[in-house]
Amino acid sequence: MATFNVHVTIENKPGISDPEGETILNDLVLKGTHSAISKIKTAKMLKFTIKEKDKKSAQTRVKEICDELRIYNPMVSKVTIDVFDS
């Protein structure tokens, strides 16, 4: 067994407005000289530390936990799960 850090990023699905991200883009970033930026989305990240046999198992287990406990609401959110060595 090894220890892994698993990052769960929860963000709104495409098409669902993200007023905080839009404000950061329009009223902060684009008011500077950063015209190359076209989109900013806010998200919530949960960092899990987990003991598992390998990275794939760590990712599968954390996804199961997120689904079972409704860590995200599937009506509005999508999750991205990234695994790193501890």
Binding site: N12, I16, S17, P19, E20, T23, L69, R70, I71, N73, M75, V76, S77
Partner: protein, 226 residues
């Protein structure tokens, strides 16, 4: 005849709800701590407003896993009237008893103000004394009150008459101005505004009658006259 008012860590409208049920409408009500079960002789269940678990993770997301929710689900299946107000609505949604999601208001502000509702379904246990399209002056107090459903679910809600209340104007960016919904059977109702803060003339500067009809509907349903 007894109404259960469920108390979670962080509930803060439980006393207002209990007061309205007992002092104003002379009903027998009892608080139930979320870690306990509900007795079988309960005739209706109310999940009051507040900030259960400090809105950690997402409003209602943690309370939705409280032990008492298992009993609430069983009672929902039996057809017992269940009302969630504000955070109670968020908990019912997160528990999967009602469809949709409640997002941060478009303004990103906590909104605490008077608004008005339009009755869209007057067949539920909490709206059967109201007239269809009746207007209800009522306060809202929430930060995550923007009701969202995808287009497919919205069509289903319309088809099955599950939209119970709409705001009379655009308030917080909710899908189709929805302020309250019910389950397919109609016995589980959730609403963001606070009827318990509007059912008495002493605290309602506009008209307390429409909100009091929400409680009178419940009386009508469970067979007790006021």
């Amino acid at each position: 005849m007894k109404i259960g008012v469920i108390v979670f860590p962080g509930s803060n409208c439980d006393r207002d709800m209990y007061h309205v049920l007992t002092d104003v409408f002379k009903l027998d009500a009892e608080y139930f701590w979320h870690e306990k079960g509900l007795p079988k002789n309960i005739d209706a269940v109310i999940l009051p407003g507040g900030f259960s678990y400090g809105d950690r993770l997402r409003s209602g997301a943690i309370a939705a896993h409280s032990p008492i929710i298992k009993d609430v689900k069983k009672m929902a299946e039996k057809g017992i009237p269940i009302l969630g107000v504000c955070n109670g609505f968020q908990i019912l949604v997160e528990a999967g008893l009602l469809p949709g999601a409640l997002l941060k208001n478009t303004s990103l502000n906590f909104m605490c103000k008077w608004t008005s509702l339009i009755v869209e379904n007057n067949t539920t246990p909490f709206t059967n004394k109201l007239k269809l399209h009746q207007k209800i002056p009522i306060p809202i107090a929430n930060g995550e009150g923007r009701y969202y459903v995808d287009d497919e679910t919205l069509k289903k809600l319309k088809k099955k008459n599950q939209i119970v209340f709409r705001y009379s104007e655009v308030v917080n960016g909710s899908s189709d101005r929805i302020a309250g919904v019910c389950n397919e059977d109609g016995n589980v109702v959730g609403m963001m505004p606070h009827p318990e803060r509007a059912a008495e003339s002493a605290i309602n500067p506009i008209d307390n009658k429409p909100s009091s009809l929400i409680f009178e509907s419940l009386l009508n349903t469970i067979g007790v006259k006021n």
